[in-house]
């Protein structure tokens, strides 16, 4: 007889959800007359098939992990920070801005890179604070404030690329003029990844884990998220805590944007956020907002993203297949969790 409240029971349902997601994605591929096994194999070899590929996965993992880390704090405060895409974008814009201002000065490249990071953090925080102010003082739901600001951030990027920061001659969708090699975050010989940004990403998630698990601030943040009214009644300034969550999440998002500029693209491009903000929301949901799981699951999602790049090249399939699989995983895990709760609830009665 199975104990329905046991960890094993829960685990079983999660496995079931993963199997369901795989079946769903396979059916989708069959609908598109695509060979499922070959596609899965391509995604696998495309992500871990060589050192170069693994390094690419890590390059994608860092901004995703940073975004997820920040989101864990806004989720803890009960906030849906959909505006994170715009916050990443503003981080990238501010980093680019700082680098453009300082690149011709006599400052040392190391210092400029450092200022670039700080500028990115500032950009993300400013953009996040807009959503926060709209929410707390304007009564505008953070989902809609954030979404609107995402579109504004994209427009701002495109305006900069085609306007004030355009390449000599005519602006192009390929972005601004790349920065000098000296202003690149040092990369591992022959690979695209950088130990420095990897360090930033890992320290980020550890900080978030510690804030949520081991501080009064984290505890109170969770109280605000669980029951804002009750938290307010016992004397927690809920508005202030929500604003702090937005600020910290914005800082993480800005950091993600800064790494996109300093370590990946070395310039500002139109889709600089690469969708890592929305993907971070998915990761956070999938891990049920538990910081402990953020790193491995974000790594897996990054691997799916990188692996699926091979699909259009080899099989003429759209690379959004990874998004379908990621979405199916989150959807089925949420639904299976509901099914499990229903079964356990019945047993108690």
């Amino acid at each position: 007889m199975l104990n329905k409240s046991s960890a094993g029971f829960k685990f079983g349902f999660q496995i079931l959800a993963i199997v369901a997601a795989l079946i769903f994605t396979t059916v989708v591929m069959l609908l598109a007359k695509a060979p499922p096994l070959e596609a899965y194999k391509l995604i696998f070899t495309g992500s871990v098939g060589s050192i170069g590929k693994i390094s690419d996965v890590i390059v994608a993992w860092i901004p995703l992990l940073l975004a997820t880390s920040g989101l864990l704090l806004t989720f803890a405060a009960g906030l849906w920070n959909i505006g994170i895409e715009g916050q990443i974008t503003l981080g990238a814009i501010f980093t680019t801005w700082a680098l453009r201002l300082l690149q011709d000065t006599s400052l040392s490249p190391t210092l400029i890179i450092l200022i670039g990071f700080l500028a990115g953090i500032l950009g993300g925080m400013i953009w996040a604070s807009l959503t926060g102010l709209l929410k707390i003082y304007g009564g505008v739901n953070e989902i809609f404030g954030g979404l609107g600001l995402n579109f504004v951030a994209t427009a701002l990027t495109i305006w900069l690329i085609f306007g004030p920061w355009k390449r000599p001659g005519v602006g192009s969708m390929s972005g601004t003029v790349p920065f000098d090699n000296l202003l690149w975050l040092p990369q591992v010989e022959g690979l695209r990844m950088s130990w420095w940004s990897l360090g930033v990403g890992l320290i980020g998630i550890v900080i978030v884990y510690l804030i949520l698990q081991g501080t009064y601030f984290g505890l109170r943040l969770k109280a605000v998220g669980k029951n804002g009214r009750a938290a307010f009644v016992i004397g927690i300034p809920t508005g202030k805590y929500m604003m702090s969550a937005f600020f910290i999440c914005g800082a993480f998002a800005g950091l993600a944007g800064a790494t996109q500029v300093l370590a990946v693209y070395h310039r500002l491009i139109p889709s600089i956020s690469s969708g890592y903000g929305f993907l971070g929301l998915m990761v956070a949901m999938l891990i049920n907002y538990q910081a402990l799981w953020a790193a491995p699951v974000a790594l897996f999602f990054a691997a799916l993203n990188i692996g699926s790049i091979q699909l259009p090249i080899v099989l003429k399939l759209d690379s959004t297949l990874s998004g379908v699989l990621q979405g199916a995983l989150v959807l089925f895990v949420l639904m299976m969790d509901g099914v499990r709760r229903r079964l356990t609830a019945k047993k108690v009665k």
Partner: protein, 331 residues
């Protein structure tokens, strides 16, 4: 008014038709107490599926039917996850929004750039010949006429009929509605499905009429659903006001295009998003009257000024259905 402007304005009525469908569909769903956040992806998925169906079968009607069915089914998942599985509506809706979008790009790949059927224009005899009004309203296609009818029917249904009152009841005070004999959760299923089907019509309205064809990521439909959700709030969950919001949004986009040549320094992509900051501003205006600090600040002002501001705020302010997003349990 010269003819060009008139044709331009008629174009606004036509391009707004899908937005009207999506915003009113979402209005009905939210009136019942369910937030369906999936509609941005849903519009893309149904645009692709409707187009693919019509290209394959040659039937426009089937395209719209498939769109409505997909819309209804995906929305059913949101309702089921919320009502039966007690999961967050926002979470499930958001995942479905992203997943439907990716599905549309993945499955729509073979249909990219194909030429397909288009809903024919259908001028209404006699009415179409009325000066100005005829060009503006009555030389459109059947979809635009349907959007006029939908606005009227939805408004009358919600505010003037008995089932409409019940719909308001299950969104405002489900417990009371339950005591009065309404099967709250069954009605929520029904209205989520109806609302979803209306949203599902919006996709094919784009791919078979307003922006014919399927062009993948450059189809330019990504974002419309989020706008429709904002319009639902702007519209204060009133179909008439939602329709007004839809027209306003499309008018702003059109102005962006018209003004483009006179503002050569601003890239077109920037003007296209101009409605978004304005949308945030309007959301701020309709919501700010609900904030406590506004009441407190106003209390310190001289009586006459206070009354005037309070009056303006009250006129603009909208409040959501009281039970929006809150699961109902009949015990």
């Amino acid at each position: 008014m010269d003819n060009n402007t008139l044709v331009g304005l008629a174009g606004i009525l036509a391009s707004a038709a899908p937005v009207v469908f999506a915003a009113i569909g979402e209005t009905i769903t939210e009136r019942a107490g369910i937030t369906n956040l999936s509609i941005n992806g849903l519009i893309l998925l149904t645009a692709m599926a409707g187009f693919a169906t019509s290209v394959t079968t040659g039937s426009l009607l089937l395209g719209f039917l498939v769109g409505a069915l997909i819309g209804a089914f995906v929305s059913l998942i949101v309702a089921f996850s919320s009502i039966a599985l007690k999961q967050s509506q926002v979470a499930v809706g958001f995942v479905l929004a992203l997943m439907s979008r990716d599905l549309s790009y993945f499955l729509g790949n073979p249909y990219m750039g194909l030429s397909g059927p288009r809903v024919p224009s259908l001028p209404i005899p006699v009415l179409a010949d009325i000066p100005v009004v005829g060009v503006l309203f009555f030389r459109q296609d059947i979809l635009v006429y349907s959007s006029y009818i939908l606005i009227a029917v939805a408004y009358i249904f919600v505010f003037k009929t008995r089932p409409g009152l019940m719909l308001q009841g299950i969104g405002e005070q489900p417990a009371t509605a339950y005591v009065r004999g309404a099967n709250v959760n069954r009605l929520r299923y029904i209205y989520t499905i109806i609302g979803g089907a209306l949203v599902g019509m919006a996709g094919p309205m784009y791919s078979l009429s307003v922006k014919v064809g399927w062009k993948g990521t450059i189809t330019g439909l990504d974002g419309i659903g989020w706008i429709a959700l904002a319009i639902t709030i702007f519209g204060g969950w009133n179909p008439l006001r939602a329709a007004f919001g839809a027209y306003l949004f499309v008018l702003l986009q059109w102005l962006g295009l018209v003004l483009q040549p006179s503002l050569p320094n601003i890239p077109s992509q920037v003007l296209q998003v101009a409605p978004f900051p304005l949308m945030i501003l309007t959301l701020l205006l309709v919501n700010i009257g609900n904030s406590e600090w506004v009441d407190r600040t106003l209390a310190g002002l001289p009586e006459e000024v206070r009354r005037l501001i309070a009056k303006v705020l009250r006129a603009m302010r909208t409040t959501p259905p009281a039970a929006l997003g809150i699961p109902f349990e009949n015990e």
